[in-house]
């Protein structure tokens, strides 16, 4: 469904991605793990056109993907960005409705809105509050809810569990699985590698801009190097 070929990205002089190849098949959850600054967010941002690559191509459904963000989104690709980026000057509800900006089906939008409220009752409570004054975790919920409103075919999640209470972290991962069940495809970047590998089908390990390992999530999780570097001692115990 989504193919990234030989991607090179630079920030000025910094070579952030050094020839990356990633593939995501229809209906699977693929996770990318890697330490801080490995280039995970950069990869997602390049796919959605926020960052322009210097070299390399991205194919979506075997067609070359445009480089302009709003056109990419129109294709059904949606990102929950790092740092949430909720619209602080708009209410919670407006934020959610903007998630459905490209959709025209009013009734369905409304249904999805109720759906999101069901998943995150907190958002319903705060419907009229300015998003900027939400707590960190509430903003994270909003960002995910907003992405769901777009009914994407493929969702790119950049650390969705960041700053969430443990109870909610569980919920989020459950939601991700639910989304998968709806037939959607997911590319997931997570620091919580343990959880991510648990729900993913396949995984890539990104180190300093290069893919160093790839394979089924189970294999990766079992890889001793990965266990040591990304899963902490909890698994090695």
């Amino acid at each position: 469904m989504l193919k990234v070929r030989n991607l090179h990205v630079f920030y000025g002089g910094i070579h952030a991605l050094k020839g990356i190849n990633v593939e995501v098949k229809q209906g699977e959850i693929v996770t990318i793990i890697g330490s801080n600054g490995a280039g995970k967010s950069t990869l997602l941002n390049t796919i959605t056109g926020i960052v322009k690559p210097k070299e390399g191509e991205i194919f979506y459904k075997d067609k070359k993907l445009s480089l302009i963000p709003h056109k990419i989104v129109a294709n059904g690709i949606c990102q929950v960005p790092e740092g949430r980026l909720v619209f602080a000057n708009l209410t919670v509800k407006d934020n959610l409705l903007l998630g459905a900006y490209l959709r025209k089906d009013k009734a369905e939008i409304n249904k999805d809105l109720q759906n999101v409220y069901e998943i995150f009752p907190r958002l319903k409570e705060r419907e009229k509050q300015m998003a900027g004054t939400l707590s960190g975790g509430e903003q994270q919920m909003l960002a995910i809810g907003r992405a769901l409103m777009g009914r994407p075919e493929i969702m790119l999640l950049d650390e969705p569990s960041l700053g969430l209470a443990p109870l909610l972290v569980d919920t989020i991962f459950k939601i991700i699985l639910d989304i998968k069940k709806m037939g959607k495809t997911i590319l997931l970047v997570e620091q919580n590698a343990f959880k991510a590998l648990e729900i993913a089908d396949r995984a890539y390990v990104l180190e300093q801009g290069r893919i160093t390992l790839e394979g089924s999530a189970k294999d990766i999780a079992a890889n001793p190097k990965v266990q040591e570097a990304y899963l902490g001692k909890r698994v090695t115990e």
């Binding site: 989104v73 903007l98 900006y101």
Partner: protein, 292 residues
């Protein structure tokens, strides 16, 4: 007493001049978060467009009026493309936009002086210059038109921004372009739209000013007052821009009429500072505590 009422009428009329400019300026401010000092230049061009459409090409007024609005809109878009977009692409801080805008405004004023010359030009008479008389008081016809146009546009714009999807997109874009793009919003288009709308209003304002006053290269300088009015009202708030404008108009006339015309602006400024000290976000601006 009639003197006082006449002064209030004067104030309202001056206020609607400010308002007509302030709405367009505030619209651009609300999305780009910087004071577009080239707005005055666009107004000036609008005045010239209207003048030439009517004298050189003999357009009837209504067509010249709309055509000037459209031409000014195109110019505003051009200015955005040339002077702001490159900065936007580099995510430059707002200061640089302001300087770029100042460069543009110097350019616009002087290109007129250098090409068609600094002479003052007078519109052919469209509206009767005879004011509408009510008893001893006079209300100018153009003033009334301006007042109506700013009110209509205010309502339209508020509707557009607060109640339509595109309006939400405008607000979202103003807050964060990256995130807006991720929602599928064509941010480039939104910005062009806003500049276009702002420019269109500037064009209409220009024609009306040209008719009411005269056409000359510095006519855009009166926008300074509308910037101040917009600050009075609370930056980025369209309602605020209009309320601030009318208020400033009335303050000015009352000061001239009853305190001192020589110190009018001084008193207006002192009042401005006083209002800002009491309400640092202007009259209609929202005060939000900084969320840490």
């Amino acid at each position: 007493m009639t003197g006082f009422i006449q002064q209030i009428i004067n104030g309202l009329s001056i206020g609607s001049v400010y308002a007509l400019m302030a709405v367009g300026y505030s619209l651009v401010y609300s999305i780009m978060n910087f004071s577009n000092f080239a707005h005055g230049g666009i107004i000036m061009f609008g005045a010239y467009f209207g003048f030439f459409f009517m004298t050189l090409y003999k357009f009837p007024f209504s067509i010249a009026f709309i055509a000037s609005g459209i031409c000014a809109a195109l110019m505003a878009i051009l200015v955005e493309r040339v002077a702001y977009k490159p900065l936007r692409d580099r995510r430059a801080p707002f200061l640089y936009f302001i300087i770029s805008a100042m460069g543009v405004s110097i350019f616009l004023e002087n290109i007129i002086i250098a090409t068609i010359g600094p002479t003052f030009r007078t519109y052919p008479e469209v509206f009767s210059t005879q004011p509408i008389k009510i008893g001893n008081m006079a209300i100018g016809r153009i003033d009334l038109t301006m007042f109506i146009i700013s009110a209509v546009f205010l309502v339209l714009l508020i509707y557009l921004i607060d109640y339509t999807k595109i309006g939400k997109a405008i607000q979202a874009t103003s807050f964060n372009m990256k995130a807006s793009a991720l929602m599928g919003i064509n941010t480039d288009f939104i910005i062009l739209l806003v500049f276009g709308l702002g420019g269109f209003l500037a064009g209409l304002a220009g024609v009306l000013f040209g008719m009411k006053y005269t056409v000359y290269p510095q006519i855009g300088n009166i926008t300074l007052k509308s910037f101040i009015a917009a600050v009075f009202g609370g930056l980025g708030s369209l309602q605020g821009a209009v309320i601030g404008s009318v208020l400033l108009g009335i303050i000015e006339t009352i000061t001239s009429g009853y305190i001192s015309s020589q110190y009018r602006d001084l008193i207006a400024f002192v009042l401005l500072i006083f209002i800002l000290v009491v309400r640092p976000m202007g009259l209609m601006g929202k005060v939000t505590e900084d969320k840490a």
